[in-house]
Amino acid sequence: MAKYILKRILYLLPVLAVVAVVDFVIIHLTPGDPAAVILGSDATDMDLAKLREQLGLNLPIYAQFGRWLWGVLHGDLGWSIFMDMSVSTAIWQHLGPTVSLTLLAEVIAIVVALPLGVVAAANRGTWIDQSFMTLALLGISIPSFWIGLNFILLFAVQLNWLPAAGYQPLSNGLVNHLKYLIMPAVSLGIMQGALIARMTRSSLLEVLNENYIRTAEAKGLSRFVIIFKHALRNAFIPILTVIGLTFAVLIGGAVVTETVFNIPGIGKLIVTSVMRRDYAVIQGAILMTAVAYVLINLVIDLMYVLIDPRVRLSK
């Protein structure tokens, strides 16, 4: 087991290295002189030269990468000239809303999707299965930001039940926090939930085809025991995997959803930085989300050990 965990962690290193290189390269695809972009057209040559020096732009590209990576490894993601603060501070300030939003969306998605998928699989081919799966198909076909816009139209503009946009931190009370977060979280969670429900159903159906399930049926075990005790546990690995992989969908959706609901999170930070061409912030924030995604999937892989003894015992 220790070997499995160690192997899984070592395997992260090349992935993280690629993530760092890609993140660096993308931002350096920018045509033109970043110093000129930052200072505008009326900057003097001397100011430009000074800023290039300060940003290390006069170094060769590999030296720039080395300098940046050294900084990143020491927790220094660079400096935002527009916000006049370090990129890590900017990310830290915008982290709370995004964590709240994605966690709530993920919880809503799992709580709704798991029972839906199980019930659909248990009633395969019936109208229950068909209507649940039609719902799930709709769920993966409607962009979350458009669901969000429709929620605003219905619950904020027409019915006036919920605030149309904005964010209240948890420190201002849980009810207040949820009042602002519930619409964005549900609209974000729908696609996630639909993906999980589809995977739960197909993974469970596959397990229900196994011989040991037929044995359990022949023994006269109830349908309930078969599904929850014998089948679901074995169907769980693909379900967990899909939860981890679709976390990227969730973070990506959060970027757009935050803009729809005007939530001051990482997504809003990235979009604003794109408009301002604040490359240091874009680079830092995107690096952080990719690293977060990699770590979340590490945690999920390690959870296999708890769920599936086959993983624990394999050498």
């Binding site: 993530v19 290189v21 198909l137 409607i142 990227a248 990506g252 794109v274 995107i286």
Partner: protein
């Protein structure tokens, strides 16, 4: 005599071919969901092709006296804050979505196919390519596309490039896992024993057997590409205004949601129709082409 016999042989294979095709066609048609998907998508395709003919107004034509008019006989989907006709703009928006989706599918399939095949065939390349693929897939799709757009600037060509870069790794991985299975088949070993060259084995014998998963994947990538294009344009990092795209019409609609609901409703319906159509076709193709799910279903 000889000519005649090859002639009948040709006729015979042609007959068999059309028979086979008919079976596949019949199976597609018997899948009600896939047929619904094809119908939805045809509507969007027709919209894109005939946009200039069926639009009631040029999509960029402004008329100050017609600002924010609700849907009516004259403006089926209403007008926006510049008095532009939303129906005509949604029609022209379909051209962007279809063009972007199609180009992304072609580019990511070609590059993904090459990477996937060579990665499966040459094991020493595999480690390198797959680590890069893992690294690229660690970035949430929308975010990676936004970052590339931020670097390249808002232009349609760049939208296509950025979304293609996002999906090349997905295709590469799908093709690789299919090719790894094919590679171990006895007939590949036989061809190698007969002295078949590597490129011939890869392209003539392995590649055709990786097409089913690739086609299924491509359908879903088309759907994702439409959503990501709309997201990018919605955020102001995609199709630059005033050119109408579903995403940037939605973005106009967002700011005017209290005064003019129609600006945000209709382009959204168009997106859902397109993506739903593609997902239905993708699910249908998967039932049809993937023996694994067939087994699980029966």
């Amino acid at each position: 005599m000889e000519v005649a016999s090859t002639g009948t042989l040709k006729n015979k294979t042609r007959f068999l071919d059309s028979f086979r095709r008919n079976i596949i066609l019949r199976r597609v048609l018997s899948n009600r969901l896939a047929v619904t998907g094809c119908m939805l998508l045809s509507v969007i395709f027709l919209m894109a092709v005939f946009a200039p003919l069926i639009a009631t107004q040029p999509p960029l034509q402004m008329k100050v006296t017609d600002r924010l008019k609700a849907p009516s006989a004259e403006h089926w989907f209403g007008t926006d804050e510049f008095g532009r006709d939303v129906y005509s703009r949604v029609l022209y928006g379909s051209r962007i979505s279809i063009a972007v989706g199609f180009s992304v599918v072609v580019i990511s399939s070609v590059f993904g196919l090459i990477l996937g095949l060579y990665s499966a065939y040459y094991r020493h390349l595999d480690n390198l390519i797959m680590r890069v693929v893992d690294g690229l897939m660690a970035f949430p799709a929308v975010l990676l596309a936004i970052a590339i757009m931020a670097a390249l600037g808002p232009k349609i060509e760049n939208v296509i490039i950025s979304i293609s870069v996002v999906y090349i790794p997905t295709v590469a991985r799908t093709v690789r896992s299919a090719a790894l299975v094919v590679r171990e088949q006895t007939y590949i070993e036989a061809i190698r024993a007969l002295g078949g060259r590597s490129w011939r084995i890869i392209w003539r014998h392995i590649a055709p057997n990786c097409m089913s998963p690739l086609i299924i994947q491509a359908t879903f990538i088309f759907a994702y590409a439409v959503i990501i294009e709309a997201s990018l344009s919605f955020l102001g990092a995609g199709t630059p205004p005033p050119q109408p795209s579903w995403g940037n019409i939605l973005s106009d609609g967002r700011t005017l949601i209290k005064q003019a609901w129609w600006i945000m409703v209709f382009p959204g319906v168009a997106i859902v129709m397109t993506v739903l159509g593609l997902n239905l076709i993708g699910d249908g193709l998967r039932d049809l082409l993937d023996p694994h799910t067939n087994k699980a279903k029966s």
